[in-house]
């Protein structure tokens, strides 16, 4: 297997480095390239056109280092491949960050009812793998309210000589994150529970970016931490380093049925991913860079989710930061999330 994969690579790398990439593409019809594409097709068990595209993708640079022309080439290649693969005209946007915009998010935990419409809207919008497994970028953690009980007032450890290590009057819940995000009630909100949605916090000091050995993940000028899926080597350092458990990994080839695929995509956002790479919430940059709201903001039935430009004093997010009681998750880690929680 590894032999099959290596041989064609070596053949192609032997030529002069700079010329190879484009020359290689142009000569795609020649015998050599056809053979290579054929070999790749055998390996990936796909048709030749797709194999050719993946092969060219394999040689491309890190997105940030591409010239505009190379970016255009790469985007066109992807559009062609996705359109063929999913049977619908797919666009791959490459709009850069807007000037003077720094995205921020605020979530009203008082209002959240735990319906998880945001979770599913996100999956629909962002082309995650749908089954086996379904990848979700947002998790809504159910927190049960704690309780103090009279009968335990005098109970604790040790039993005699006065409680010293700990009392039992408080029934522990809610304060410790127990990570219950699989709840399946008949109705939400459930009595005695509140809900705590989490997703990528788009940290100003993102630990995931620092640990990446190939700089495939980085912070864009508008504050969004993005991933070049084509450059990721799948080492999962970022997944280990994220204190918010926001990153997901494509353990196998993602399963995205044609009919479920959202054809409006962005290179750094919701374009379909491949196996062996990390992914996460990007604040729907394919939407927000065009002035739209994220899918989760749009779908929230109680208006708990607010989104906007942190640099604009008139934006809703800025108003919330000024007027409401706001906190950030795990602030002690000094990651400076741009995802704020607030209460009225």
């Amino acid at each position: 297997m590894s032999d099959d994969k290596k041989k064609p690579e070596e053949t192609a790398v032997q030529g002069p480095k700079e010329a190879t990439r484009r020359g290689f593409l142009r000569d795609a019809g020649t015998l050599t390239a056809a053979t290579i594409a054929g070999a790749a097709a055998l390996v990936t068990q796909t048709d030749e056109a797709e194999a050719k595209a993946s092969w060219a993708e394999w040689f491309q640079k890190n997105y940030r280092l591409m010239t505009d022309e190379e970016k255009k080439e790469s985007v066109e290649r992807l559009e062609k491949r996705y359109s063929e693969e999913y049977g619908k005209a797919t666009t791959v946007d490459s709009s850069p960050a807007m000037e003077g915009v720094l995205f921020g998010y605020a979530l009203n935990i008082q209002k959240c009812i735990g319906c998880r419409r945001c979770v599913h809207a996100c999956v629909k919008e962002n082309n995650q793998s749908r089954n086996n497994p379904e990848i979700q970028w947002i998790r809504v953690v159910k927190m049960e309210k704690g309780n103090f009980t009279t009968e335990n007032m005098d109970k604790g450890y040790p039993k005699d000589y006065g409680i010293q290590v700990g009392g039992n009057a408080y029934e522990n819940a809610g304060v410790t994150l127990e990570g219950e995000h699989y709840y399946t009630p008949e109705e939400v909100p459930e009595k005695g529970s509140f809900y705590f949605p989490m997703q990528c916090m788009q940290c100003e000091k993102p630990p995931c970016v620092k640990v990446c050995p190939v700089r495939t993940t980085y912070r864009e000028p508008d504050g969004i931490v993005v991933i070049d899926y084509n450059w990721c080597i799948g080492c999962r350092m970022c997944i280990s380093a994220c204190p918010y458990w926001a990153r997901r990994f494509n353990w196998g080839e993602p399963n995205l049925p044609q009919e479920d695929m959202n054809p409006v995509t962005h290179y750094l956002g919701n374009r379909p991913r491949m196996k062996g790479v990390a992914e996460k919430c990007t604040f729907c940059l394919q939407r927000t860079r065009k002035g739209r709201y994220t899918a989760c903001v749009e779908v929230c039935p109680v208006g708990a989710r607010k989104f906007g430009n942190l640099l604009d004093p008139e934006s809703e997010v800025r108003k919330i930061l000024e007027k409401k009681r706001v906190f950030r998750l795990k602030a002690d880690l000094n990651t400076y999330p741009k995802f704020f929680y607030f209460i009225d």
Partner: protein, 421 residues
């Protein structure tokens, strides 16, 4: 140049020839390597979905082997350091065997890194110039540097020494000695950096403490020499190479005290974590006692503790430590196994349980992970056997091309004597 090619040819032809026991051993290893090639094929075509890794526990058996084997590689220094710094004569004669172990261990590390990668085909993205090497920011790039450097140093030192011996020339000290001293410091660096790789992530509180590097080094210097002692005993039994009792005794002492320090550090960690018992100690609690009815690692943890403590007691007792026929190899095997658990399943896996948002989910390796890991070890032992066999040939004087070095052959009387001891 022709001389060097001749050396390579002689070395290889000598290394691959042996008696029935040798062939049986290599065949056994070959079987596991074959199994691994199937496992590797499945994993590289279907993706890591053939493992039991998941978003909750995203590192597992492979990373456990990786961390442990970096330690084994670093442990070559336990042979090199006394030889060249304390001029331990008996150890110096066979120091090259330690370097061969280092080469084989780094080779295994590389195999497990390949299995660790989600996209091994994109490994070239790491190469400077054609890719992006995020150095010095990413700790992983430091690890790449020190591991490759260490492989290079040991290959150069080891084969330079063997080649000089083979040609009957003296080593050029002004070339050789600086490399030896660098490799001593470098050995410490590889395991320190591997510790930094995981303990610089506050998202995983179980790893997030400054004791990690010293614990890594002390456990490595217990497990590594244990393996070296066992290898020495096997070599002594099967070849004429003179491996003095003093050499083995010194290594046994190193194992004893490093194991003692490791046990002390384990106690220190347990007390520090469990006394205040904050949320940050949940991983350790899960490992030691289980949590919410999930107890997958509890048996592993306590078996590791029992192995390490009983090995320590055996090694502390001179009567057992000096019994090279049974108790010393037993204690070494126990140390090796205990630390393999402690640093593998007992360190890598529980750090992911619970997840940063508090979810507890257990992990058991899939059978593909298991055959790939067995195969990784088999490949390393395969290489180690060949390297050691060739090196022993040179030391024995079976492999030579002019000049005279005194072969390190055991005389019949001293052989009898060492067996009695």
């Amino acid at each position: 140049m022709r001389h060097k090619i001749q050396f390579a040819i002689d070395f290889v032809t000598y290394a691959v020839r042996g008696g029935p026991k040798f062939y049986l051993w290599m065949l056994g290893l070959g079987f596991f390597i074959l199994l691994m090639s199937y496992g590797a094929f499945r994993q590289f075509t279907e993706g890591m979905i053939v493992t039991n890794y998941n978003d909750q526990v995203s590192w597992g058996l492979y990373e456990a082997q990786f961390v442990f084997l970096v330690g084994v590689a670093a442990a070559a220094v336990t042979v090199v350091f006394p030889s060249y710094v304390y001029h331990h004569k008996k150890l110096k004669e066979i120091v090259v065997l330690g370097e061969m172990l280092a080469i084989a261990a780094v080779f295994m590390v590389i195999i497990f890194i390949m299995f660790h990668m989600g996209r091994p085909d994109r490994l070239w993205h790491l190469l400077p110039v054609i890719g992006i090497f995020n150095w010095p920011n990413s700790m992983l790039t430091w690890d790449v540097l020190v591991l490759n450097g260490y492989l290079g140093l040991n290959a150069v030192c080891g084969f330079y020494y063997l080649y000089k011996r083979y040609s009957g020339q003296e080593v050029n000290k002004s070339f050789y000695m600086p490399l030896v001293y660098i490799s001593i410091v470098w050995a410490l660096s590889i395991h320190t950096v591997t510790a930094f790789l995981i303990n610089t992530m506050p998202s995983r509180p179980m790893w997030f403490h400054s004791m990690m590097p010293i614990k890594f080094i002390s456990t490595a210097f217990a497990a590594g020499p244990s393996m070296i002692i066992i290898a020495f005993l096997v070599i002594r039994k099967n070849t004429k190479l003179k491996i003095a009792d003093e050499a083995i005794e010194l290594l046994a002492q190193i194992v004893t005290w490093c194991l003692g320090i490791a046990i002390f550090l384990t106690i220190a960690e347990v007390v520090t974590e469990l006394y205040p018992s904050t949320e940050h100690s949940f991983s350790l609690k899960y490992l030691m006692f289980g949590m919410h009815g999930l107890t997958g690692l509890v048996a592993w943890y306590w078996s590791s503790i029992v192995l390490m403590i009983s090995a320590f007691i055996l090694l502390l007792t001179p009567r057992f430590r000096k019994d090279h026929r049974f108790f010393l190899p037993l204690a070494c095997a126990m140390t090796f196994a205990g630390i393999w658990i402690d640093k593998g399943m007992g360190l890598v896996v529980p750090a992911f349980i619970p997840t940063p948002i508090g979810e507890l989910s257990e992990y058991t390796p899939s059978w593909i992970e298991i055959i790939n890991s067995l195969g990784g070890w088999a490949s390393g032992l395969f290489l180690f056997t060949l390297l050691v066999k060739g090196a022993v040939g040179v030391l024995l004087g079976d492999l030579k091309n002019g000049g005279e070095w005194e072969p390190i052959v055991i005389s019949e009387e001293s052989k009898e004597e060492s067996y009695r001891g």
